[in-house]
């Protein structure tokens, strides 16, 4: 069961826009586009699960809200700091949408 969670990422959105363009120029059919998106879901899920090895940690000053419904966690945090080995990224607002399944999480 693959999540369609990753369609709303930069990569996923770009793919969707490209497919929409192609449909507009009638170079592919909508059903083909749908198949592409499904394949994308599978590919990105497996890639993130197996190929990604780097670790990143984050710390937020405040957890504004949290929600758990339909097995999906949604977190809204403010003043977050992402830490990799030597890199730091500061973010004012952060939204995390996390799905359950084989221990993998998707971040938006």
């Amino acid at each position: 069961m693959t999540y369609q969670l990753y369609r709303n990422t930069t990569l996923g959105n770009t793919l969707q826009e490209t497919l929409d363009e192609l449909i507009q120029f009638q170079q592919i059919s909508p059903s083909a586009a749908l198949k592409v998106l499904l394949q994308f879901d599978r590919a990105i899920n497996t890639a993130l699960a197996s190929k990604v090895r780097s670790r990143i940690s984050f710390k937020a000053n405040k957890l504004n809200t949290y929600r758990f419904c339909d097995n999906v966690w949604t977190f809204l945090m403010s003043d977050v700091e992402f830490k990799e080995v030597q890199e730091f990224v500061q973010v004012d607002k952060l939204k995390i949408v996390a799905c359950d399944g084989r221990g993998e999480c998707g971040a938006v």
Partner: protein, 372 residues
């Protein structure tokens, strides 16, 4: 009973003297004894008047007759010379006092605010802190939990695990379990008002989501408090004397579970002296006093957990009843429901047996004590 120190030449105010109670009466000079008897007769008259006042005071204030009784001498009206002469020896004083205390039961308070009273003495009064309050309320309408979980902030809903929405608010810091029937449980508040306020806030959130929520049958279900009596407690001794109320399985749980019948309160008593109280009744404050009562010629000590709240006065009686007074100790001070200013006996602090554990008894300098 090795040495008998001479009786003090002065009389300690607010402390009465027993009549015909001491076995050392033979040792007292007859002139001193006469003087003492005269004094005690006067005191008896005073004290019966004071007790009436204390009763009235108690019923008007609602509770905490301890402090009011502080000014009264330790004798109850039934302590007539003839009665006392036939009394058992003082070293069973603990039980006798408990019986006496039981006979004189303060009248139940009419009601009114149960505000705790500060003790008059400089004894350490230990106030338990409320840690948690559980309450329930009926919102009186069917709820769509999925809708609540999706639209409300700080909500969890996992129907596979638990059939309720778990919602939290920051002020007062509480957690609520909201069920589809419309019933709600509110936990985590530190006071009853906070619990009610929090429940109202949750009801308001549900109302704002579009449900016709009401606020019906708000009821406090449980209150948990904790305190520290600041002395170690011998749990084995307690379970021996109060076997019908206590259960102590050190292999299962390190604390003694004391189930008080009236009021229905469960206490978890630990060796360190920490006590956890839990119950439905309005047991917000538990004052623990050490009462040291000094007889003219001897002193006995029984430590009583004394509750200034009306309903918890039984706790003190429970403990006093069963307290084992160490006869082998050189000094035993009698405890009652009266406060005697504790002071220092020279440089030599005296140890006495309280609940089987030794407690340092500090007595006034220059006050002679009879050693048993």
């Amino acid at each position: 009973m090795d040495q008998l120190l001479p009786s003090p030449g002065f009389s300690i105010p607010s402390i009465g003297t027993p009549l015909g109670l001491s076995g050392e009466e033979e040792m007292i000079l007859p002139s001193a004894q006469q003087k003492q008897q005269q004094q005690s007769i006067q005191e008896q008259q005073q004290q019966s008047l004071q007790q009436q006042q204390a009763c009235r005071y108690y019923s008007s204030k609602g509770h905490s007759w301890v402090s009011s009784m502080a000014a009264v001498s330790p004798h109850t009206p039934c302590c007539s010379p003839t009665h006392l002469a036939s009394c058992p020896r003082p070293w069973v004083g603990a039980r006798r006092w408990a019986c006496l205390a039981r006979r004189w039961v303060p009248p139940t308070p009419v009601g009114g605010p149960m505000t705790p009273m500060t003790p008059h003495s400089n004894d350490p009064g230990i106030v338990p802190q409320l840690q948690n309050i559980v309450s329930t309320v009926n919102l009186n309408c069917k709820l769509d939990l999925k809708k609540i979980a999706l639209h409300a902030r700080n909500a969890e809903y996992n129907p596979k695990r638990f059939a309720a929405v778990i919602m939290r608010i920051r002020e007062p810091r509480t957690t609520a379990l909201i069920f589809s029937s419309g019933k709600m449980v509110c936990t985590g508040a530190k006071s009853e008002d906070d619990s009610r306020l929090a429940a109202r806030k949750y009801a308001r959130i549900v109302q704002k989501l579009g449900f016709p929520a009401k606020f019906m049958e708000f009821k406090i279900q449980n209150m948990v408090g904790s305190c520290d009596v600041k002395f170690p407690i011998r749990l084995e001794g307690l379970v021996l004397t109060h076997s019908q109320f206590s259960s102590y399985e050190p292999e299962l749980f390190p604390g003694l579970i004391y189930r008080m019948v009236k009021p229905r309160i469960v206490l978890l008593i630990f060796v360190s002296g920490k006590v956890v109280l839990t119950g439905k009744t309005v047991v917000c404050v538990l004052y623990l006093f050490f009462f040291f009562f000094f007889y003219k010629y001897r002193a006995y000590s029984v430590c009583g957990l004394f509750c200034s709240f009306l309903r918890l006065r039984w706790l003190a009686l429970h403990i006093l009843e069963g307290c084992d007074v160490g006869r082998s100790r050189p000094l035993v001070a009698q405890a009652g429901f009266f406060i005697v200013t504790p002071v220092v006996l020279g440089e030599d602090p005296v140890f006495c047996d309280v609940f089987g554990s030794s407690v340092r008894l500090m007595l006034p300098p220059g006050v002679p004590l009879l050693h048993l």
